[in-house]
């Protein structure tokens, strides 16, 4: 690599000799307007050609920047043709822009930016005006359905769970399954630390050739976020954006009311309680965003503060967040040095409440009273905080008691900053140095008083109450430096970038739990010293951990070559090393290559404005999901008298190597009049996917080890279509389709097949449902087929699929060649669809966004456990859908509980009105948004959204571990999932 760099810098050196030095600079300014109606264009891009020196127009369409005589300003704005203005003696250049070639927008790519037309890979840029509207707390939701191939699912409306984001499906089973987030050039940020209101654009790099420059962390795609910047023109602008909304349960699980339950043979406990009503609420959301921006001369700033107060549909759930972000830009040293500084601070208090309350509200006996005082038999209510409890029943807790007696609160503090120093060494050579630091701390406390049956152990005569504490801290440091060299050679252009990147992550955590508190007089989590667990051995739980200095070090180079403004070639290479591999396997080389041709320039097809073909190929790497896999780890055995010994916990795999992803993408961009289209097809091979697999326990002493155990192949197609149906001075209506489909196959695997995704307790442990089979698609739901008949004992009779006269359908027979099982559905959709609509009529805008996913199925766990009229568990409520089979009294997994979950929904409808300005307020805009207004689906569960990652079963008050998801087991709708919500929001924006 060093020799590569040496050669490269030598050629740079030669090129530098040929270049010339700059003229003296001055400040030029002007106003950019729409050529049609003369209105100011806000946020138009102005760039000094051949440099990175640029700005955007402010709220009045004004700009100012430093440039020299002879420089060329390139003005660009979404939906308008680029214009070039040569700087002469004048200092003022007003420009009016007219609609035209879309593709001269600038797209931010890794370590630089490119004109859209020069892009040779699959990149989609979504600007602020195209984001989803409404009370969006999670930046990922801004893009939901907007980018073909990017899936963002937030199953249900849990305000404290981030969306699951996947680019082009499953790119890896290990780490880096989520796209890399880059905020203002700083990689590795998390979406949670940028407030949606502060985002200007999001550029989505979908394929390998685009993301390869980011190396490992870009292997699941990249989302580049550019936050809003201040204006450099003198002045000050203060704007406000506020929203207030309300959300309600959209869909829950269909269960019986007290009357139906009794009629179905349920145990009557005398009362009539609607448990779902008892634990849910209309959740109010309030968002205030205030931003100030301004600047003068070379300096601009933007400061924003956001307050979010969100309540979930589950009573007591929600969060309060305060977030502030500062962007500061200036120039120094005769404008040769550009400094961009940004920082953000987030303070968030999360009330997680207990999603279990939703689960137990579904399955709790509807004839049970809320309070012990209303029990049909003698019941010691005070022992349980006056609540009733169905003692002696497995996995059954009074849901009202759960949320009213206990709390689980998390506090997040996040402080990030990044600075980018760019120095123009020469007109066409600049050096960037970036430093960034992200600090995140999380602390949580859960408290279960001595009267709580749920986790508080209220049944115990002595050891009651529990408090759990947890803290973690993480720190991420980034140092990057790169040189950019631009050479205009008349008919062709060359742009070369090369640099070095150093990333280090440190993580540490500590958790502590104890109980046995005297009573319920005070919150004893504030006074844990009184816990009698200190006197009794073995009850205190504590753990702590620390990551190693986890590093990624990379050297990279990229060259972009443009010929005739019509043929574009990009090539990049990144050599990257990680501490997660053992010696000898730490480094990987990841090249990428792309070529694009503006065919229309040569073919000149009639009525075609754009016809561009792109071909890209890129290799990226994926890391194993944990540190230390190349080393063995051991656990301690403590003897009663102080002896200490250890035993092997995990066998080392010193041969673990980079998982490599090779992706080829072929794309076509087309525009003709009102029609725009973009088509991408891709083929992706993941070689050596890192998985925890079963090894020969006799030899290794531990039956599991992380290995490069599988190869995956994904083929996909993405299509975006946009059409301006109406476009005139009064009315404009455009509509667009985002279509994507992919299929991921396990092309190689260390064994023929495996199965995962255990259904769980009660009674359905050892029942794995998702097949993992060599040569076949990922996410096949596997199991026996219900024949429709039941035995006289109320058991389902499965179908004799192979007709051999015997029915072999036991869960441990899943791989028996004689088993009567088959694929019952697939967890991954056949295709996904987004339909965007925007209608403007005289200051009114109506934005409707529909989306759907088709072809996938879900195992409806609710039905699998609670729909059969269990003769032995008649104190659970019964799920009651039209699919219920009367007479079925035993719960057994089969095709009966696998449902097609195709859906189509109105995800977002926004009606906004631009009221204009008055004496005090400018540009007042009022918007009403409805989210999840309707959903069309045959699925009977709470949410038909695909469940791409499985977090396993939990029961009887157990805790779901969200830190380790299983990407090989999509398609299970777990009982721990939240219900989905419908939200209405009123928003107002204005400037002072």
């Amino acid at each position: 690599m060093k020799s590569f760099l040496t050669k490269w810098s030598f050629s740079l050196f030669l090129l530098v000799i040929m270049s010339s030095s700059a003229f003296a600079q001055k400040t030029v300014s002007g106003v950019v307007t729409d050529a049609g109606n003369g209105e100011a264009l806000i946020g138009a891009n102005i760039l000094v050609k051949g440099t990175d020196n640029g700005t955007i127009t402010d709220i009045d369409g004004s700009y100012s920047l430093r440039a020299s005589e002879g420089d060329v300003l390139i003005l660009s704005y979404a939906g308008y043709a680029d214009q070039e203005v040569v700087i002469g003696a004048s200092n003022t250049y007003n420009v009016s822009m007219s609609g035209g070639k879309l593709l001269d927008e600038v797209v931010v790519v890794g370590y630089g930016s490119q004109k859209t037309k020069e892009i040779t890979s699959a990149v989609v840029s979504v600007g602020r005006e195209d984001f989803n509207k409404g009370p969006i707390a999670d930046a990922a939701q801004l893009l939901q359905g907007k980018v073909a191939g990017l899936s963002s699912y937030n199953r249900g409306g849990d305000p404290n769970r981030p969306s699951v984001i996947r680019m082009r499906g499953i790119s890896t089973i290990g780490a880096n399954a989520e796209p890399l987030i880059v905020i203002d050039g700083i990689i590795g940020a998390s979406l949670s630390n940028v407030d949606p209101a502060d985002i200007e654009t999001m550029d989505v790099l979908k394929d390998g050739s685009a993301s390869a420059i980011y190396g490992t962390r870009g292997s699941a795609g990249v989302i580049i976020i550019t936050t809003r910047k201040g204006s450099k023109k003198g002045g000050f602008n203060l704007s406000y954006n506020g929203q207030v909304g309300a959300q309600n349960v959209l869909r829950s699980v269909q269960i019986m009311d007290a009357g139906e339950f009794k009629a179905a043979g349920g145990t009557d406990l005398g009362a009539n309680t609607d448990w779902l009503k008892e634990v849910t609420q209309t959740g109010l959301n309030r968002v205030h965003n205030l931003s100030a921006e301004g600047g003068s001369g070379n300096t601009s700033y933007r400061l924003s503060a956001n307050v979010r107060n969100v309540d979930g549909i589950l009573r007591t759930s929600g969060f309060d967040q305060f977030n502030t972000r500062l962007n500061f830009n200036t120039k120094a040293l005769n404008d040769k040095l550009t400094i961009d500084f940004n920082s953000s601070f987030t303070n968030k208090t999360q009330n997680f409440s207990f999603n279990e309350a939703l689960r137990y509200a579904v399955l709790y006996n509807p004839t049970a009273p809320v309070l012990g005082a209303n029990s049909p038999f003698p019941f010691n209510g005070p022992q349980f905080g006056s609540y009733f409890e169905t003692l002696g029943l497995f996995d059954s807790f009074n849901p009202v008691s759960i949320i009213d007696q206990n709390y689980n609160i998390g506090k997040v503090k996040e402080f990030n900053f990044g600075a980018d120093f760019r120095y123009s060494i020469l007109d066409n050579l600049s050096a960037n140095f970036r430093v960034a630091n992200q600090n995140n701390s999380f602390s949580s406390r859960a408290y279960y008083p001595s009267t709580s049956y749920f986790r508080g152990n209220a049944t115990s005569p002595t050891r009651k109450g529990r408090a759990d504490f947890y803290n973690n801290e993480s720190n991420f440091k980034l140092y990057e430096g790169f040189l950019t060299y631009v050479q205009d050679m008349g008919k062709s252009n060359l742009n070369i970038t090369g640099g070095y990147s150093f990333q280090q992550t440190n993580f540490s955590d500590v958790g502590f739990g104890l109980g046995d508190f005297p009573n319920n007089d005070i919150d004893f989590s504030n006074n844990i010293g009184v816990s009698q667990d200190f006197q009794n051995r073995g009850f205190l739980t504590g753990r702590s951990g620390a990551s190693p200095d986890e590093r990624i070090i990379a050297m990279f180079g990229r060259a972009n070559y443009t010929f005739d403004d019509a043929i574009f070639v990009n090539a990049s290479v990144r050599r990257e090393g990680s501490t997660r591999f053992g010696e000898g396997n730490q480094w990987g080389i990841f090249p990428a290559f792309g070529v694009g041709v503006d065919v229309n320039k040569y073919a000149n097809i009639n009525n075609v404005d754009l016809f561009k073909v792109r071909l890209g190929y890129g290799v990226t790497g994926s890391l194993p999901p944990f540190n230390g896999l190349s080393q063995e780890t051991r656990s301690i055995e403590n003897g009663p008298d102080g002896s200490v010994t250890t035993r092997l916990l995990r066998a080392a795999n010193r041969d673990l190597r980079w998982e490599e992803k090779q992706e080829t993408n072929l794309g076509v961009d087309f525009k003709s009049g009102r029609l725009g289209a973009s088509l991408d097809v891709y083929n992706r091979d993941v070689d050596g996917a890192i998985l925890e697999v079963i090894v020969d326990a006799a030899v290794f002493g531990a039956e599991r080890q992380w290995q490069n155990a599988a190869d995956l192949n994904t083929r996909g197609l993405e299509l975006s279509l946009d059409y301006d149906v109406i476009k005139n001075a009064d009315v404009s209506y455009n509509t667009g389709i985002r279509f994507s489909t992919y299929k991921t196959t396990l092309s190689d695997y260390i064994r023929e097949q495996d199965i995962s995704g255990n259904l769980g307790a009660p009674g359905q442990n050892g029942t794995n449902m998702i097949l993992v089979k060599k040569g076949e698609e990922i996410g096949q739901i596997w199991g026996p087929v219900f024949s429709g008949n039941i035995t006289d004992k109320g058991e389902p009779i499965m179908t004799d699929l192979n007709g051999d006269g015997q029915i072999i359908a036991g869960a441990d027979k899943w791989d028996d060649p004689k088993a009567d099982m088959q694929v019952l559905g697939k967890g991954i959709p056949d295709f996904e669809l987004g339909w965007v609509n925007s209608l403007d009529i005289k200051g009114w805008n109506i934005n409707a966004f529909f989306r759907g996913a088709f072809g996938h199925s879900l195992v409806n766990e609710w039905r699998a456990f609670y729909e059969p009229r269990l003769s032995t568990q008649t104190s659970y409520n019964f799920v009651n859908t039209e699919l219920a089979v009367p007479g079925l009294t035993t719960a057994r997994y089969s095709s009966l509980y696998v449902e097609k979950a195709d859906f189509f929904m109105l995800d977002n409808l926004t009606i906004s009105r631009n009221i204009g300005s008055n004496k005090y307020l400018k540009n007042v805009n009022v918007a009403l948004t409805g989210q999840n207004l309707f959903i069309i689906t045959k699925y009977t569960g709470a949410s038909p959204e695909p469940n791409l990652v499985d977090y396993g079963a939990s029961d009887n008050g157990g805790v779901v571990d969200y830190s380790r998801g299983n990407a090989l087991a999509p398609g299970i709708d777990r009982r721990s999932n939240y219900f989905s919500a419908r939200t209405f929001t009123l928003g107002v924006n204005f400037n002072f």
Binding site: L391, T459, G639, V644, D812, T890
Partner: protein, 532 residues
């Protein structure tokens, strides 16, 4: 030229930074090297102040007394226990019914867990033996412990790999070869070449001192006696004479005694408000009580402790949810394991073992009030265990079946129990000597004397006119819940027969399949057992 100079400066700056390429991974929160520290034993007792803790702890994690592994496949495949499916509860994809009806196959989770847990123990032993931290006596102990792990594999799977060094593969051995290996290792640990009457063990590297949480020479002899008792099944060799000699050496050692009258411990499960709860547990009951440490009958036991020795979960596994209130358990039980009615009825009513081994009838809580089951399916809210189990599947009643309680429960018990679990105990040695002598002589009356010693302790009359069936039944009553029944039924040729809801099963099920995942992971070096 000025620019060139600048370029050099910037370029070299990049290289300076670029030279930082250190990627060594130094784990901070994980233990990557073995730590072995002996403890300090104050005032004797315990006696496990060595660095063998991890190896012996593997007995616990290998499923000796919890759900889903060794214990489960030894017990619920037999006629003494089952887990009946209760509507939605405890069906678990049919794998529990499969065990009881012997329709298990190579993908059975429990069969897999037992394999992995046992080889995990072997690996820890191999690591200790490969190191230099242990002395000759400890080496002998670890060899004997490893031999015991192999004895389990021999019994369960038959044809397994004999791995004796960490991470070094070996070919699959036949069941007879595994038998020979186990025998040789135990003899080697004892420092003798064969078991003979009156043999001299004075040079044995194994200690003679009584320390039941470690294997001493009597522990090794006890294991050998059990190995020889099954030699005909394992290797087609009749070695009953040797079995009788080895068991006799333990019995006659003078180190151990049967726990009978006067051998008692405080009853930690007592409810003061319930008059029928005795203040003390005496005799047979004391051998298995939560405070059974240092019981004179224990030769080699697995140490369990609620805080420092987890994984005995019988209270959870066996009892109904509401039984939590009888003992004020820290956690709710699971309502799983129950005894077959016929087996329960094989005890005479006066048999002290019956009272200790089972919980039946209406249940009272700590204060003496009836325990309720609010989801009761028998029309009566009071929790009342019936010996009758209405059916194995699908709709067994929630309260059906006498519940195993040989390893009795204590008040305020935790999910992890305290009772030490015997691998070799003197009571069983009498049974081994009895059976081995009878089989050796071809005369079951030879078994009567030893059997009646145990019956006397149980408060029941002597057995006369002994037959194989009578002996097996008696052995069952004594050894209930000690993971012996499957092996016994096979030795007596009854495993493939019928009982209750169990149909005839083919002979190949007498050894379990090798886990399918392991056959695959072995890259062809493991061949599946015949019939699977």
């Amino acid at each position: 030229m000025k620019n060139i100079g600048k370029l050099f400066i910037y370029s070299s700056l990049f290289f300076m930074v670029g030279s930082c390429t250190n990627l060594d991974e130094e784990l901070k929160g994980d233990i990557t090297k073995d730590i072995s520290l002996p403890g300090i034993s104050v005032g004797g007792g315990g006696g496990d102040s060595d660095i063998l803790g991890a190896a012996y702890a593997r007995l616990r994690s290998a499923g000796t007394a919890n759900h889903g592994s060794y214990y489960s496949i030894q017990e619920i495949t037999s006629d003494e226990m089952c887990i009946a499916a209760k509507g939605g509860d405890w069906f678990d994809g049919g794998i529990l019914v499969d065990l009881h009806r012997h329709t298990y196959n190579a993908s059975h989770d429990f069969v897999n867990n037992a394999w992995n847990g046992t080889y995990g123990g072997i690996n820890t032993c191999n690591e200790l033996l490969a190191g230099t931290a242990i002395d000759a006596g400890q080496r002998a102990q670890v060899r004997a412990l490893r031999a015991y792990f192999y004895m389990r594999l021999l019994d369960l799977y038959g044809n397994v790999k004999i791995i004796t060094q960490p991470n070094v593969d070996a070919p699959q051995s036949t069941r007879a070869q595994v038998f020979d290996f186990v025998e040789a290792e135990l003899l080697g640990a004892l420092g003798v070449s064969a078991v003979t009457a009156g043999m001299d063990l004075s040079a044995s590297p194994l200690s003679a001192a009584n320390n039941p949480v470690r294997i001493n020479r009597f522990g090794a002899l006890g294991l050998l006696s059990k190995l020889y008792l099954n030699a005909e099944v394992y290797a087609g060799k009749k070695m009953y004479d040797k079995a009788a000699i080895a068991a006799g050496l333990v019995i006659d050692s003078g180190v151990y005694s049967l726990c009978g009258t006067g051998c008692k411990v405080t009853n930690l499960g007592r409810r003061p408000a319930v008059a029928s709860d005795p203040a003390e547990l005496e005799g047979y009951a004391a051998v298995f009580a939560p405070n059974n440490q240092n019981n004179p009958e224990h030769v080699f036991v697995v140490f369990y402790d609620e805080a420092t020795g987890a994984d005995m979960n019988f209270s959870q596994m066996n009892l109904h949810y509401s039984s939590q209130f009888t003992w004020n358990f820290d956690a709710q039980p699971w309502n799983g394991y129950a005894t077959l009615e016929e087996f329960y009825n094989s005890y005479e009513n006066g048999d002290l073992r019956k009272k200790n081994n089972f919980i039946v009838g209406p249940q009272l809580d700590f204060g003496g009030s009836a325990v309720l089951d609010y989801a009761s399916d028998d029309g009566n809210l009071i929790l009342d265990y019936t010996p009758k189990i209405n059916e194995l599947v699908p709709n067994s009643k929630r309260e059906a079946g006498a519940r195993p309680s040989k390893f009795s429960f204590k008040q305020l018990g935790r999910p992890n129990m305290d009772n030490d679990y015997p691998i070799v105990r003197l009571g069983e040695m009498y049974l081994v000597r009895a059976e081995a002598s009878a089989r050796d002589a071809g005369d079951w009356s030879k078994a009567e004397a030893d059997v009646n010693i145990l019956r006397k302790r149980a408060g029941v009359a002597n057995l006369t006119a002994m037959t194989a069936d009578k002996f097996l039944s008696e052995r069952g009553r004594e050894m209930f819940q000690e993971s012996a029944r499957r092996t016994d039924l096979i030795r007596f040729g009854k495993y493939n027969g019928t009982w209750w809801e169990k149909p005839v099963s083919p002979a190949h099920v007498n050894i379990f399949p090798i886990p399918a995942t392991q056959v695959t992971a072995s890259n062809g070096s493991l061949k599946q057992n015949p019939g699977y």
